[in-house]
């Protein structure tokens, strides 16, 4: 069995950034395992622009953004394998993968970075009432068919979910000649960027039905009708509010979930985000196994995924150089009022470098609120936020000096400005 210093599972945004970062810190024995036919991950099918504002100070399309990183990989001669599916990862860091050229291969890795991205929530997972005909498809799969293979999934499309993927596909479908009949959004607010509401829906007069969801799918073999209903504030359907649409496609954009099966399979308990529980260096409960990108928690800006990938690469390098030692005291991060979750879930204060980035999402849209960070009950940071929305991840940066060895708890909460 071969031994490799660093195995990176996933050659998408997080994996590529992690590889470059680890290489630049002196790690030379790196292997990226990518299941698709090319590097770049989901970016390859995200042909729209808007990526890279932070990372490159430009607005790039997904493939262009991916290419910047792929070139960095190639320039450094970092090894990668394509069409290589990782089958399992063990607690002692044995990585098993399969591809047609190599067959089944087992590698002893000294460090592993999980960068396997996310998968889409399906119609079945949200138990949409009605029939189960052909014509119900998730937005990402539809996007793959359209942008990579060149196929239309339908001509009369209704979309459930106003997240960015659904909105982007609304525009894409319309430009390719389909009729998008409308978008239903369960919440009373849209989950997507305002720019996308304007440029994907309003530009094409596609109606957005807030506080609505699909109450019935009609069609035994093929989709015939989509029925939507308004929901009340407990998210139950209000009888009598049904609206029917004759559609051949119901496209779902109802959430992304970390593709964390490799750790799930070996019994590593997931966090609230369904990704791994990690410390400030993105190390999971298994020493030397790191997690970054959508598999850790679903992001909305690829620039932050790259930054997280870089941190994982840097941390893996530290680990491989013996500089990441687990010591006793761990501080726990706890999300309080108005905060859905915080990554990382634990901070090892001894290992803190100059600062730590806490990432989280607000649990609902809020205007003009105080964002209060406390360590052991003492306020260390208080920021006024004019605008917070669940679809936009927030970053709070804390200097090392704010922490003391004996600290136990860090909380983040929102407070309405008086």
């Amino acid at each position: 069995m071969q031994t490799r210093e660093l195995v990176i599972i996933g050659g998408g945004s997080a994996g590529l950034a992690a590889a470059v970062s680890a290489y630049d810190e002196g790690i030379r024995d790196i292997l990226i395992l990518e299941r698709d036919e090319y590097l770049g991950g989901i970016l390859n099918q995200c042909i729209h622009n808007g990526f890279g504002l932070h990372e490159f100070k430009e607005q790039l399309s997904g493939p262009e953004y991916a290419e910047r990183f792929i070139n960095q990989i190639k320039d450094r001669g970092i090894e990668y394998k394509l069409k290589a599916m990782v089958i399992s990862v063990s607690r002692d860091k044995h990585v098993r993968y399969a591809n047609e050229t190599d067959g089944i291969v087992e590698i002893q890795a000294r460090a592993i970075i999980m960068a396997t991205g996310c998968y889409e929530r399906s119609a079945g997972a949200i138990a949409i009432p009605g029939d189960r005909p052909v014509g119900v498809i998730t937005a990402g799969t539809a996007q793959r068919y359209m942008n990579m293979e060149g196929y239309m999934v339908g001509k009369r499309v209704f979309i459930l979910g106003s997240g960015d993927i659904g909105l982007i596909m609304a525009r894409r479908l319309t430009l390719e000649g389909a009729k998008v009949l409308g978008v239903a959004e369960l919440m009373p607010y849209s989950n997507g960027l305002t720019r996308n509401i304007v440029q994907c829906l309003m530009d094409f007069d596609i109606p957005l039905y807030l506080s609505h969801s699909v109450s019935k799918i009609v069609g035994r073999e093929k989709l015939e009708k989509v029925v939507i209903s308004q929901v009340d504030n407990t998210l139950n359907f209000i009888p009598g509010t049904e609206k029917e649409f004759e559609a051949d496609t119901l496209m779902l954009s109802v959430g992304l979930l970390p593709n964390n099966y490799l750790l799930d399979d070996i019994g590593v308990i997931p966090s609230k985000t369904r990704g791994a529980i990690v410390n400030e260096h993105l190390e999971t409960m298994i020493p030397g196994v790191f997690s970054a990108g959508n598999v850790l928690h679903v992001h909305d800006l690829v620039d932050f995924v790259s930054a997280e990938g870089r941190l994982a690469g840097h941390s893996a390098a530290m680990y491989l150089n013996g500089k990441l030692v687990k010591t006793g005291n761990y501080l726990k991060t706890i999300p309080l009022a108005g905060i859905s979750y915080i990554v990382p879930q634990y901070i090892n204060i001894t290992n803190l470098e100059d600062k730590v980035e806490l990432k989280f999402r607000p649990s609902k849209p809020m205007k003009d609120v105080w964002l209060i960070t406390k360590i052991d009950g003492v306020v260390v940071k208080k920021q006024l936020k004019p605008f917070l929305i669940p679809s936009e991840m927030v970053n709070v940066s804390l200097e090392k000096g704010l922490f003391k060895e004996e600290n136990q708890e860090l909380t983040i909460e929102t407070e309405v400005k008086a």
Binding site: I47, S61, G62, N147, L175, T194, R195, Q199, F387, E392
Partner: protein, 115 residues
């Protein structure tokens, strides 16, 4: 008559109101005022799409307009884009259609495909 426009410059999404004299109200900053005027007089958009590609593995090549194009011309541009078939190899940045619809804008490849 006032035109209602949602500003897309920053996530705040201010609701703007623009009158016939192009006075903008509701903007939270000066960028909104600029945006509001532009949206009413000459709304423009970036257009991304794919073109047919003859290559070993990929049947479609992603493309983008080199600059923003008039919102009202997007479907005309799509017609031109749909006529084209590109043969690999193609480099990210290659011009696929020059001066599409005589708008002074190119259609440019956003992916390198070697074979």
């Amino acid at each position: 008559m006032n035109r209602e426009v949602i500003c897309t410059v920053c996530p705040k999404g201010c609701h703007l109101s623009v009158d016939e004299n192009l006075n903008v109200q509701g903007n939270g900053c000066i960028r909104g005022s600029v945006y509001g005027k532009a949206e009413v007089t000459n709304p423009v958009r970036m257009l991304t799409s794919t073109v047919k590609l003859e290559s070993k593995h990929l049947p479609r090549l992603p493309v983008i307009t080199s600059h923003e194009v008039p919102k009202g011309r997007m479907f005309d541009i799509m017609k031109e884009i749909n006529r084209v078939t590109v043969k690999a190899p193609v480099k990210c940045g290659d011009v696929i259609i020059a001066d599409v619809c005589h708008l002074g804008v190119n259609i440019v490849a956003t992916r390198t495909v070697e074979e």
